[in-house]
């Protein structure tokens, strides 16, 4: 009797949160899958069962493959670099030095800025002829560049902004982890005659593995979510050269109003995230081995 009452209490406490969680996360995830099997309703024509038609369109859609490839490059280019820079930053900021407060602030500030503001600032750098990059380049006699306007470099221009924004954020996690490493361990190694590099490689780096894993997973999720700067910097262009999956979903849904096809694209994105979730579960389940 008492038990039933405590069950009811628990359910009542959970109820409001779960309603919102299900209404705006789980249910839409399921209806996305459902919608992907229908046509887009237009005017007075309601949605019709389409079977796998949307998926056939997807496989035949060159923009989809282009955008997927872009996202792969974006992830492969931004994740390792921002993680390595973050680790470097954390190691530096963790030691005593002149002006440590300023250095730490300089690294972390981009994290607090809205991505839209960040994109505006960088836009000014990238502007052909007028921007800082061309001004500095010009002083050394380099030709004018159009980084965001050319299909070969637009994505890279977007990636640089992402790294600038993310590295300082990841640094914080490394900094927290560094502070939990027992100093006795490092001192003991030093007594044994180990150099800084050996200590870093044999003690610090292995102890930071769980953090690296956590940060990397965060970075992968972000590589699917971060599109704000594309709106300002390139608008996905030229010729979809800098478009990413979520940006393409936005375009298909809210510019071309093809919601069924957008749902199909979202299913692809969800599949990626679910695979990631399962992978994460198994990785964390086995624990990262300390050696």
């Amino acid at each position: 009797m008492l038990q039933t009452r405590s069950w009811i209490h628990a359910w009542l406490l959970l109820f409001p949160g779960l309603v919102f969680l299900i209404a705006f996360t789980h249910l839409p995830a399921l209806t996305t899958l459902w919608s992907s099997f229908f046509t887009t309703p237009r005017g007075r024509r309601p949605a019709k069962w389409a079977g796998l038609e949307n998926y056939e369109t997807l496989i035949a859609d060159p923009v989809f493959w282009k955008v997927l490839w872009n996202n792969a490059i974006y992830a492969a280019g931004t994740i390792p670099l921002s993680v390595v820079i973050a680790l470097l930053m954390a190691l530096w900021v963790n030691r005593q030095m002149v002006g440590r407060g300023f250095v730490r602030m300089a690294y972390f500030t981009p994290t607090v800025l809205p991505m839209i503001a960040v994109a505006n600032i960088w836009m000014f750098f990238y502007t052909p002829g007028f921007g800082l990059i061309d001004q500095i380049g010009g002083a050394f006699g380099f030709a004018q560049t159009n980084i965001l306007g050319s299909a070969n470099s637009a994505l890279w221009g977007v990636m640089v902004v992402t790294i600038w924004k993310e590295a300082g954020f990841f640094m914080i996690f490394y900094l927290a982890a560094l502070q939990t490493i027992p100093t006795t361990l490092v001192e003991a190694a030093r007594v044994e005659g180990a150099g800084s590099w050996t200590i870093f490689r044999r003690i610090t780096l292995p102890l930071l593995m769980p953090t690296t894993l956590f940060v990397s997973i965060n970075a992968v999720v972000n590589s699917f979510r971060m599109v704000d700067h594309i709106f300002i910097l390139t608008g996905g262009g030229p010729d979809n050269a800098s478009s990413l999956l979520l940006f393409y979903i936005y375009e298909v849904a809210f510019r071309f109003w093809d919601t069924a096809y957008a749902a199909t694209l979202t299913v692809v994105l969800l599949v990626f995230l679910i695979v990631l979730a399962i992978g994460q579960f198994f990785l964390f389940d086995r624990k990262v081995h300390y050696r």
Partner: protein, 268 residues
Amino acid sequence: MSADRLLNTLGAWLLALVWILPLAYAVWTAIHPAAYEARFDLFAPLSLENFAKAWNAAPFGRYFLNTFVLVTVILFGQIVLCTLAAYAFARYQFPGRNVLFALVLMQLLIMPDILIVENYKAIRFLDLVDTIPAIALPYIASGFGIFLLRQTFMSVPKELEEAAQIEGMSTLGILIKVYMPLAIPTYLAYGLVSVSHHWNNFLWPLIITNSVETRPVTVGLSIFSAIDSGVEWSVINAATLMTSGPLLLAFLLFQRQFVQSFMRAGIK
């Protein structure tokens, strides 16, 4: 040893200067007349004219008000819902607990940001398109918030709760008088992360709003800077700094708390 130290300090400083350069440059152009936006002159006259121009060129006052209301509504809703749910997970045994907790954790990966199409349909169904609640609703129940608070609540000694029960306190009374005060540092950390996240959010507000009365600053800024003819860079930069100003200012004032709160929020 000391050469090693010198090199490291030098490296750290060099990277810091590179990292701050974009922002420093934006500040430089914003506080100088437009004529200096591409020309460095240490003695260029300072002016706040760019800020005035930006402020008058778009309804930024309204945008700020919208954003302020938005982050307040979201934070308030999140605190209420996450506290209740976290308490249930931390202190009750009930059937379905693990399944429900898994549903909560799933939101850490599948965020509402990604489900824009279906969430737009849902908001349209509720007839709330272009309202501030519409921007807030998908984010009110935060899996991250529930998780973070549950961790904190679990570390509260059970004896405290038992003592309160003997005193005849109700379930909600215990939550409000015993658990919540002990979790204040977590609330603070979560609050900072939530406010900065929703102040900066862009994609969902862009989709769901289409009028001045509801638009937050990020969307307002993107519209402002998209007008490529006529607006000077120095004015755009002033608007950019203005938009991020309150957060930036808060960050500079409470740098330590900010960094620590991100650290706390990150440790899982």
